[in-house]
């Protein structure tokens, strides 16, 4: 036991005292906030510059209403330009030229019998213009059509307002203590995403530290000296724990800083970040999934390192591991849509995916306690298994100086 502590101490101090640790600790939050704030700010801005859309309106009845509706719907940055050049055909030719020379972004031809047929034609030269059509122009033109038809049917204004009503929602989240609070889903989602990004980055970063630390033992030819003093399993454990604690130190510094700042409240656009999101359940799971995720990936990385003589050797084994973290990131929208579907429940129990998927589920709903417990248990079991494998590979690895490892040797060693 004391030998494990000796290894932990060495690995921990070596990291915490390094320049890169200090720099990383200072720069980390800056990078992290860029990750988070840049997308938020972009979404907030609507993501588009002022764009001009050409409109051919043969009847001259709809152009003004369309412009008004756009402003009303908060799409004032889209400007409309009425195109008139004699006949409809001539206007169309002019509009097509304008689209091609990019003086307008795209164009609409409102049919002469729009009131009856509801027909409009959209002209564009890029596929992405479809987003403009569906998100901006279609809703606006729909409303123009509706209003014009109500007017044509001589529906009184009061009745029109009554019919055009929309539902108004308030969202109440129930807390376990029986309380109620108004939810801000945007903030909740962004906070969940921030926490998952922290888990993701820390696990990849410190996991690969373990890989290089193990390879260092081999490239510096220390393996055999060390194995004469300490068992490979203990050595692996000491290394993983020492590096993990260095990660945890950095993590604690960041979390403390984040809390200190969020006490004063952070506002980004219309979103207010506060600590209310960090319920004890989320906090406990955050720490648990960070630790379990780190130890699982770090021991797997250590096992890979034990096989390889150089970092280059390790690349081929590295990619599948990283996929274990990247895949669940890609599945996040699935989790958001249906956090309790069978598929998501099963995926969230896969130990390699749990740190991202199960934790996301914890953030967006409250999964049954047994499922959370089971995922903890499965991860702990996998760590134990991975540590044994890594120890075995490390012992075998010293006999494999020179030859670069292949999947075949990996499997053969594990089967022995």
């Amino acid at each position: 036991m004391r030998k494990i502590l000796t290894v932990i101490r060495k690995e921990y101090l070596e990291r915490v005292r390094s320049k890169s640790f200090v720099i990383g600790t200072l720069l980390g939050p800056a990078l992290m906030s860029m990750f988070i704030l840049v997308p938020v700010l972009l979404v907030d801005k609507g993501g588009d510059d002022a764009r001009t859309v050409g409109v051919i309106d043969p009847t001259g009845l709809y152009f003004d209403s369309l412009a008004e509706v756009l402003v009303d719907q908060g799409r004032g940055q889209v400007e409309l330009e009425l195109i008139e050049a004699g006949s409809v055909e001539e206007s169309l030719t002019l509009m097509k030229e304008s689209i091609l020379d990019e003086s307008v972004h795209s164009g609409i031809l409102i049919a002469a019998d729009f009131l009856d047929s509801g027909k409009a034609t959209f002209y564009n030269k890029s596929v992405s213009a479809g987003i403009m059509r569906d998100d901006v122009l279609r809703p606006a033109l729909n409303r123009v059509l509706r209003e014009e038809r109500f007017a044509a049917a001589q529906v009184p204004d009061t009745l029109f307002a009554y019919l055009a009503a929309r539902t108004i929602w308030t969202n109440i989240g129930l807390t376990a203590e029986g309380g109620e609070e108004e939810q801000h889903e945007d903030v909740g989602f962004i906070m969940a995403f921030v926490l998952i990004m922290i888990i993701y980055i820390m696990v990849i970063m410190y996991g690969s530290h373990t890989l290089t630390a193990v390879i260092e033992e081999k490239s510096s030819r220390m393996v055999e000296v060390l194995l004469a003093s300490i068992s490979p399993g203990d050595l692996m454990l000491g290394k993983v724990m020492g590096i993990g604690m260095a990660g945890l130190t950095q993590f604690a510094i960041w979390t403390a800083a984040f809390f200190a700042i969020s006490q004063r409240g952070i506002s980004v656009g219309e979103l207010n970040f506060d600590t209310a999101f960090m319920t004890p359940v989320i906090l406990i799971n955050f720490i648990a999934f960070f630790l379990l995720g780190f130890f699982l990936y770090a021991t797997l990385y250590a096992g890979i390192g034990a096989m390889c003589n150089t970092v280059q050797d390790s690349q081929q084994f590295h990619t599948p591991l990283v996929m274990g973290l990247v895949l669940p990131m890609m599945m996040l929208s699935l989790v958001l849509k249906a956090p309790d579907s069978t598929l998501v429940v099963v995926l969230s129990l896969v130990p390699l995916f749990s740190p991202v998927i199960m934790f996301m589920r914890v953030c967006v709903e409250t999964p049954p306690v047994w499922q959370i417990g089971l995922s903890w248990l499965l991860m702990a079991g996998s760590i134990w298994l991975a540590a044994r494998m890594a120890g075995k590979l490390f012992r075998m690895g010293i006999l494999m100086y020179g030859a670069s490892p292949t999947w075949a040797t990996l499997i053969r060693v594990l089967r022995d």
Binding site: K3, E14, S220, V225, L227, I398
Partner: protein, 316 residues
């Protein structure tokens, strides 16, 4: 965890026993029924050509490789877990942490052998002084010359004050001055009652330093025991002779199989069972002798002879 205390036998009695240890990889026998009894306070040579199984045997003793069968005891106790802390091991594949300071490095390796932290640092300091490296204590290993690094590795092996030390090809790559220095240190440690296993393929080195040897070939021990006893088992097979005026001896001297001139004298290989004394009158008859010496077989001659006898034995 405390370092196990051992009841060591008196100097000269068996301290390490290797009992019918075998290890094979598929069809390759890396060690075959290896039996060894190594006396305390001796320098015991593991000799054999490259790839003979010396390192494998050592790794089995250190439990780095697990044997298929057999047992190993140190002072009568099975060699496992913390018992390894009583052994210092300097492998052939050896290195240091390049970015670590010399003092930290030595004390870390001592701590891993179970020496308490404070004591480990004290001893590291003392060893650096003994090696003449006290000025380098807070420098990184990176900045040391290769010779200095080898001294650090050597110190790291002895810093835990082990009862048994295993040195695998310890002199390879060292300059003669450092070889001399380390040889003296090995002898000093031996005087303290430390047992030393000295593995090498350089027979001349072994001859200078070892009290006893074993010869490993193809994973088997084909010869072992005190150096003097082994020499006695390989009787004289040649004499060295020179005459005044350097004449060439006749080719048909009775009892001589072969003659060979080297460095101004003649080496005469004797026929089997011929006593050098029987030869003397004939030689004196040929002319006044200036040199007549019984040619002690060198370790490498014994080595070659033993290997060829063994291979013949295996074939028949």
């Amino acid at each position: 965890m405390t370092r196990p205390t051992l009841e060591l036998p008196p100097v000269g009695e068996t301290v390490l026993t290797v009992d019918s240890v075998s290890k094979s990889y598929g069809n390759v026998h890396a060690a075959r029924e290896v039996n060894l009894k190594i006396p305390r306070g001796s320098i015991y040579g593991f000799l054999g050509p490259n790839g003979a199984g010396k390192t494998t045997t050592i790794r089995i003793i250190m439990k780095i490789i697990l044997a298929d069968s057999g047992s190993i005891t140190l002072a009568g106790r099975p060699l496992d877990g913390d018992m390894r802390d009583r052994i210092g091991y300097l492998p052939e594949e050896r290195g240091l942490y390049r970015k670590m300071k010399c003092l930290d490095q030595l004390s870390y390796l001592a701590e891993l052998k179970g020496v308490p932290r404070g004591e480990a640092r004290k001893r590291a300091d003392a060893w650096l002084t003994r090696m003449g490296l006290e000025e380098w204590r807070d420098r990184k290993v990176d900045s040391l010359s290769k010779g200095m690094q080898q001294k650090i590795q050597f110190a790291a092996t002895f810093i835990s004050e082990p009862d048994l030390v295993i040195l695998d090809e310890v002199f390879s790559g060292l300059d003669p001055l450092n070889i001399e220095l380390l040889r003296d240190m090995i002898l000093q440690e031996k005087e303290k009652g430390t047992t030393i296993i000295f593995s090498t393929h350089m027979l001349a080195e072994a001859e200078k330093i070892c009290d006893a040897i074993c010869l490993i070939e193809g994973g088997e021990i084909i010869l072992d025991g005190p150096l003097e006893k082994i020499r006695a088992d390989f009787p004289l097979e040649s004499v060295r002779v020179a005459w005044e005026g350097n004449p060439e001896p006749p080719a048909d001297l009775p009892g001589v199989l072969h003659r060979e001139k080297s460095e101004g004298s003649w080496r005469l290989t004797l026929a089997e069972g011929v006593n050098p004394r029987e030869l003397l009158p004939n030689l004196m008859a040929f002319g006044p002798l200036t040199l007549f010496s019984a040619n002690r077989p060198s370790l490498s001659e014994i080595f070659l002879e033993a290997v060829s006898r063994h291979r013949k034995g295996v074939q028949s």
